[in-house]
Symmetry: C2
Subunit: 608 residues, 2 copies
């Protein structure tokens, strides 16, 4: 095996063409076998094997700097830079992350997992090189899907003015996670169809030199093309046409389904879901929204490149017609466009991972909140039980969203409450609403919330007599789940069951039954209820499934700080930095959120 002899990219430099081809073949076999065992980003990694081998043949990493945008396509890069064993030896799979990670290897330049950053990073490296009078090459590899993000444009625009050597490789497989969206992609298709000669060239229009290579999965052609641009004295774009899922027929046929998958047999035609089976909030949301769309022509489901998180598989997308919009990886546009839709009378629902909503912070503030635009944002994955990669942690959302004026932040604890809140959000025209979709799994609690009505228009008509039709979820109204004594436990959203579990332990161990509260809202305080609690409780604790600093609990505690009650907020602290690939229960315990840890604190607070 050639692969066995590659300890570092230096071993790739000397390979001849036949060996390069053979190396690609061995990498593809290993990566497929690895994905079959472990799951992972199948289609993006298969597309870039030849490009990666060619890059490490032509360039001299880590002296030369190669930056892979998003870095979900770096399996081959990792295998060529001393980390092959993690892909070939099942016992060592946990040694590598799915993304670029400088703690793992000097060949990984940044911790990164968000799209569209690579060109800006490359600009920074090239500028630092020139300021220090150093001499090395800088290469950014960015996929066509990532070009829809505004930061990619900002980076390309800056590169267009940078009078120094910089290579930008457009890895164009004509596919984002789902299909591409935007006028840009018509022009990208024309470029591919014309061998790069179409006049409407988005790269030349930013002042960049441009070259095209059709054979993006031919390692020998790639080597030639890279050699031609290697020593460029100014920024150049090399546009290469690759095939997502290349070399694995099912992924070539259905690259969206094979973008990121769980383990699968190699003779599988359709992948297993990476997200498990059973009821999911994706399915619940998709079902609800399709019904709402069919009842009301003004309901719009909006996605920024990740329609599946809200249950919009290709079938639901087709059903929704023009009432479903995927804007590409462009969260800023999604929020600003939603704000205008809402103010013009439509009912947009934007489903987004908490961590990617970060990209639209200013648009939330300026377009949605300042204008009180009645948009509904569904904040997915915001939980310590969500994705555990440091780049994708979505539980920092509470400090981002719960302090914005006018934004109603709701935290349902169960599917009944979720649907009631979603239904209310779509029916009201006053305020932007963000619903923190429970991230710790779907539970049903008909004892806490009535079964949901079936559509937004139904709220005003058919179901006017049910509680959920009459609740105004923007008014803070904490729900007392158990009325007890001495200690009040407030468990936000999906941490309500945790609050109940602590209450059980207090009864068992300390001999009294505490009060348990379901707050339901994270953006406002129920002062009436808190004053009642302060009148006959000595202590209060808050539990939230997210960051504690700037989150919800600190607002509760600050509101009651003059009372003299003993209080404590539980959540994940920012203090030790970003956790990476953690076990959720271990992380919670580390931050004081174990039954034993909380009981010990309660004893101290109550002087027991």
């Amino acid at each position: 095996m050639i692969l066995d002899r590659i300890a570092s990219p230096a071993d790739v430099h000397s390979l001849d063409n036949a060996q390069l081809v053979e190396l690609c073949s061995q990498l593809r076999e290993s990566i497929l076998a690895y994905c079959s065992r472990e799951g992972g980003h199948v289609a993006p990694n298969l597309a870039t094997i030849e490009l990666t081998v060619a890059l490490h043949h032509v360039f001299n990493a880590p002296v030369d700097k190669i930056i892979f945008d998003v870095s979900h396509q770096t399996y081959a890069h990792k295998m060529l830079t001393g980390r092959a064993a993690a892909f070939t030896d099942p016992a060592r799979a946990s040694e590598v992350s799915g993304f670029s990670n400088p703690r793992e290897s000097a060949f990984d330049l940044f911790s990164m997992g968000h799209t569209s950053t690579s060109v800006s990073l490359a600009c920074g490296l090239a500028m630092a090189r020139d300021l220090a009078d150093q001499d090395f090459r800088v290469v950014a590899v960015i996929g066509d899907g990532a070009l829809s993000g505004g930061l990619a444009f900002e980076g390309l625009d800056a590169a267009g003015e940078l009078n120094t050597g910089l290579i930008i490789i457009i890895n164009d497989n004509d596919q984002s996670i789902a299909e591409n969206h935007g006028g840009l992609y018509q022009c990208m298709a024309q470029l591919r169809a014309t061998g790069g000669t179409s006049p409407n060239n988005p790269f030349r229009a930013l002042g960049l030199d441009y070259r095209y290579l059709e054979q993006g999965n031919d390692v020998v052609e790639l080597v030639h093309a890279l050699q031609e641009v290697r020593d460029t004295p100014r920024p150049v774009v090399l546009h290469v046409h690759t095939k997502k899922g290349a070399g694995f027929a099912p992924a070539e046929t259905n690259p969206e389904a094979w973008h990121h998958v769980g383990p699968f047999p190699l003779d599988a035609n359709a992948p297993a879901s990476a997200h498990g089976s059973g009821a999911t909030y994706a399915q619940i949301t998709g079902t609800y929204l399709i019904d709402a769309i069919q009842r009301d022509p003004r309901v719009v489901a909006m996605s920024a490149g990740t329609p599946y998180i809200m249950g919009f598989d290709p079938q639901r997308r087709a059903q929704a017609g023009r009432q479903f919009i995927d804007v590409g990886i462009a969260e800023e546009h999604a929020v600003t466009c939603s704000a205008a839709l809402a103010l013009a009378g439509a009912s947009p629902v934007f489903g987004v991972y908490g961590v990617f909503l970060q990209r639209a912070y200013d648009q939330l503030w300026h377009d949605a909140c300042l204008n009180s635009a009645p948009v509904t944002i569904l904040d997915f994955g915001a939980s310590v039980f969500g994705t555990t990669a440091e780049t994708h942690l979505s539980f920092f959302d509470l400090s981002m969203v719960s302090n914005l004026p006018n934004l109603v932040v709701l935290a349902p604890c169960c599917q009944e409450e979720y649907l009631s809140m979603l239904n209310w959000a779509l029916g009201q025209r006053a305020l932007p609403v963000l619903i923190r979709v429970p991230g710790a799994g779907v539970i049903s609690r008909p004892d806490l919330a009535p079964a949901a009505p079936v559509g937004p228009s139904a709220a005003a008509a058919d179901h006017a007599t049910t509680e959920s039709a009459t609740i105004d979820w923007s008014r803070p109204a904490y729900q007392t789940v158990r009325r007890g004594e001495r200690l009040a436990i407030l468990g936000l959203g999906d941490f309500l069951p945790f609050a109940e579990q602590i209450a059980d332990a207090v009864l068992d161990e300390l001999g009294f039954s505490p009060t348990v509260i379901n707050p339901r809202i994270a953006s406002a305080i129920d002062m009436q209820e808190l004053d009642r609690i302060a009148a006959d409780h000595a202590a209060l604790i808050t539990l939230e499934d997210g960051i504690v600093e700037g989150g919800w609990g600190q607002q509760v505690v600050a509101a009651m700080a003059a009372s003299g009650m003993r209080m404590k907020c539980y959540g994940i602290s920012k203090a030790p930095g970003f956790p990476d690939r953690y076990q959720p229960q271990e992380l919670l315990a580390k931050h004081g959120m174990s039954t034993a840890g909380i009981l010990a604190d309660v004893r101290t607070m109550l002087g027991l």
Copy 2:
């Protein structure tokens, strides 16, 4: 006067060419007289008078929707839509804001003041129109400077795919606030030079139809051009070449200086500063950074279109050479590029208004903080004493930045502390640092901090024996300004003098001397000092010049919540929404921050 007969745009529809020309002339005279009295955005408004008149002649607002990007160029629009008196009658000037405001007029569609949003808003309005089977026209007017923001690209890309009527007017005056930056602008210049026929067309490259008009300050030509695109069935770009400051020779000659100014005599050649005279943190920063740049070739001053806020006037920009970078209005790129610069050994300093740093929230999280990149961010205007327009409030920054892992957030109270912190930030290589530049004016407090050293390299050499050279500002170390009893008052940054003032009042009125603390850091808690305080004080209050929810004080209170101390956080609450054009002392009092209000709370907390 024709102007006197214009009560609404309906009165503009019927004007003939000569009357349109005369109306423009009268508007120009009024706007110049208004700006001379009140100050304002002189150059942008003079550039767009003809365009605005032509728009209201050809389109039927408010049925047709016209969106002005940033909306700092809407004086003529306001004068034509029933608000002329505010510009012609000095007694009524306060009736209009400087930006688009729906509470002011149905002709203003959104509260807006941030760049690059208009195309996305227009897409949303066009989509809502189609979903409701309505029939009206949608026009976005966006300046060339605003095209550098990624959101503008995202909007244009989305428009390129929108198969419906939408008109995008590029108001190209070849000038941002300062000069334009980015490869895009070479191509814009080629388009202007070739009458729109240059092949490298950034709009066609996004799938958009395109037309060019050279005579962007000729109202008759503009009317013809607008009539041609008015009933377009699909998105079209009309690129018009305007002149910033048109009709006022000094502003035509120096549009940067005349972008936004204070009152000035009409025969003035150079404008008075809109920002007052005397020592400013802009000057202090510019002086320090030029010195640092001259000592160290790796120090880089970075701006996103607002170089003047950090003292980089054209002279300092020239002095700094390649060590000054203006990326255009592209905060995302500024932060991500800075992160790479820093990790590659350079020392970037990014100066930005707090409110615009919002646009780079994800880049702060993902590129700077996750990667512990030693960038220095100077957060300007973050104060209730900063800009009071609702669109530009910069005091929400604390809830945005003080909860991010790894980010050191420093809050100096005086210029000595500021320079010491800035000097330390540039000298360290471990962490990203944000310095909250005092927004309540420059004060000198040599009693609290030693005079600053003169440059980053000096910290290690010449001044190794001074305190500021040895302080590690990332370690929380609260400074006791007065050691007192019973009550501790923590005044963050520029609110330290306010804390001292409250302490004086407590001594006068309540007869005891409280402890006063200068916290100096907003991202970490000095638990040792707080525990000492809790041991012999019954109450504690925090004062911060910014939002209280999710800010700094709530972290202090949460850290001490189990102690039983009586505590209260003072800051601006998000609860009543966004304040607009307020009096700072009134706003503070409304949020409990008057001497009388705080004394009353202290009495209650101490049971007096």
